[in-house]
Amino acid sequence: MASETIAVRAAEAGRRTIAERLHDWVVTVDHKKLGILYMLYALCFLVIGGIEATIMRIQLVAPNNHFVSPEVFNQMFTMHGTTMIFFVAMPVLIGFGTYLIPLMIGARDMAFPRLNALSFWLTAFGGLLLYFSFIGGNGLYGAGGAPDVGWFAYAPLTSPPFSLGHSTDFWTLGLLVSGFGSIGAAVNFITTILCMRCPGMTFGKMPLLAWMNLVMGGMLILAISPLTAAQIMLSIDRYLGGHFFDTQAGGSAVLWMHFFWIFGHPEVYVLIIPAFAFASEIIPVFSRKPIFGYPVMVAATVCIGFVSLSVWAHHMFTVGMSSYANSFFTITTMAVGVPTGIKIFNWIGTMWGGKIQFKAPMLFCIGFLVQFLIAGLTGIMLAASPFDWQLGNSYFVVAHFHYVIVGGILFTIFGAFYYWLPKMSGRMYSETLAKWHFWLFLIGFHLTFDFMHIPGLLGMPRRIYTYEADRGWQVWNLIVTIGVFFQAAGVLAFVANLVWSLFKGDPAGSDPWDAWTLEWSTSSPPPEYDFARTPVVQSRRPLWDIKHPEDPDWKYE
């Protein structure tokens, strides 16, 4: 009986219309489809955010340039930052987690499939709401357009007298809505990882990706909520005449900063920890060794999760806090560098003594390793608060955080795409095109973000739509802008590779990389139900145990 049903369904599958297939994607609660939806959504916004950055860089290529007006420039940096954090980085990382976690822990789906779908659509709608501001932000006053208050929207710039029209409200509400989606995703991640692991998979035998997404989920829960609260307060100020951040009524501008950065700093750890997860899965496979120091990696991640909740005011060193407060945040910020550094050493330890294969995923992870090292070190420089009194709010900071987010996170995301695309689509990508992508992007990244440190050291603040010619900043800005076009070429190669692989890629088979975690035991792409029978595992690398029955991992762990 069952086999007849399956046969009938298979025969009908080829005859589904486009509308039916589209409908399938829109109403799906399957974690794999939702994960792919998150990723595609993020890729679209990556291109849009990149265009916003390109516009800014062209404006800044020369002093006193007139490529765009100051109003447009200010909208560009606000939208670029907001888009990249909330509608590129978070969706793509949540998307990978949504796709991979059930497959890696031997479950059939996430704990709450409908909540999963709701979270995606809330996130998606939030982004559309934000972008609708370009059209609809011109409120009754004729002012507005897209928000132009910076991605951290400091008070009282966001109060009604300084922020006319509704542009700020599109920022607030767009993020409020997508914030609920993020909390939903976090609840799903935590519940899935805690409650749906296959038999034998104790906490000590979970893939590092599961551990890191668990920590990320916990941090999302604690981090997004302060932003939600602050945005509700801002809306009460703007619409109901409240005074939370109204300095004329005794309100405090610094309170907004505290609330925002209590969100903002853990948020960047929310972004980097899944990136660590990708590196922790890819580097071992392409070094042909297990991850070095699994328990320490787990402990370091949990440690980072906790300590990162105590560092937020290093974004506020120039605000005039007492010397004791500045000292406190200096030491906590430096302290969080210790577990982070330990992880870098562990990745090197994984490569050490291995047999490294320089396929695209590994190339991007090696780039990540070097770049994240540099980014961490410039972070230590910024942690020394007096040094931050010079470097803060300058292009040095902009260079630092782009080094982390692009050089660190985006590189591992590219690596993750190349690593898991064969699993998701059943097709291999073109290794040649991927190498073009890597080199073009690497050159562009370094041209832009290495040299971007220098204007910061020479006194160039951030968020300025132009600058004076006598400051000595123009040659550096020119180099920075040139790098943008190399990066764009790299991303073009990436998109071309994705599309090419879907049509012309070789069939991948279930395990093209000879890897060891559970997702590689399914077909490529996996069947809708993921696993026909719930797997039972005995070690951290179940497929290694099967491939090497004479020398299984569980003897050594």
């Binding site: 704990a111 709450f112 909540l115 909390i183 976090a186 609840v187 799903n188 935590i190 519940t191 805690l194 409650c195 749906m196 692991r197 038999p199 034998g200 989920g217 829960i221 604690l222 997004i224 909520s225 302060p226 939600t228 609260a229 602050a230 509700i232 307060m233 009460i236 100020d237 109901l240 005449g241 409240g242 005074h243 939370f244 009524a249 005794g250 309100g251 405090s252 309170l255 609330f259 209590i262 279930s510 395990d511 590689w520 035991s521 399914t522 696993f531 026909a532 029978r533 719930t534 797997p535 039972v536 595992v537 005995q538 179940p542 497929l543 145990d545 099967i546």
Partner: protein, 198 residues
């Protein structure tokens, strides 16, 4: 490579994992606690900082009765779920109704207090910092009570239609965690607004 190749379990019977509903609800409660914490911090920060207008001690009266009702509803919901587990659906229905009534009394009490504050004392959201933080914090809590009460009313309707049976006890227990959370928040809000802040 098929999953059939995996090792047969040696102690399969002992693989227990926490309940999804509970973990999910606890995660949600953690997120909500973080939101409330920020509002409480704002309230405490602004105590005494209003530039003008009524101060808490001038206009606030301690809502003892409403508080007792709300906190008792935690007890009644707990007993209700226990009754349902023991398959005493009639008792469950009564206790569930009691929970709903106590919650409604709390909300009505809040509404009456707000009416007095707005129309007799002239305290609104825009009056001063006290007004802003008071209505936001108490209002956020009341909103969560309202959402909970809507769910309780829905379950009440299902009970009257005879659809609620002991097999739903686990689900209602998970929901009751939310209701206990709402009550715990009220203890904090009550302490900060009516005891410390006055």
């Amino acid at each position: 490579m098929s999953s059939a190749a995996f090792a047969e379990p040696t102690n399969q019977g002992q693989w227990t994992l926490p309940s999804r509903g509970r973990v999910g609800m606890i995660s949600l409660i953690a997120a909500e606690s973080a939101i409330f914490t920020i509002f409480v911090v704002a309230y405490i920060f602004y105590i005494g900082k209003s530039l003008s207008g009524p101060a808490p001690k001038d206009v606030l009266t301690v809502p003892i009765f409403a508080t007792v009702c709300l906190l008792s509803s935690s007890l009644s919901i707990h007993l209700a779920v226990r009754a349902l587990r023991d398959a005493r659906v009639g008792i469950f229905g009564l206790l569930w109704f009691l929970t709903m009534a106590l919650g409604a009394i709390f909300l009505i009490g809040t509404g009456l207090e707000w009416r007095r504050l707005i129309f007799h004392e002239g305290l609104t959201v825009r009056t001063n910092l006290f007004g802003t933080t008071y209505y936001s914090l108490v209002g956020l809590h009341a909103f969560h009570v309202t959402v909970g009460l809507l769910v309780i009313a829905l379950v009440m309707a299902f009970t009257l239609l005879g659809k609620v049976t002991p097999k739903y006890a686990e689900r209602l227990e998970v929901f009751s965690l939310y209701w206990h959370f709402v009550d715990a928040v009220w203890i904090v809000v009550f302490t900060v607004v009516y005891l410390v802040g006055r």
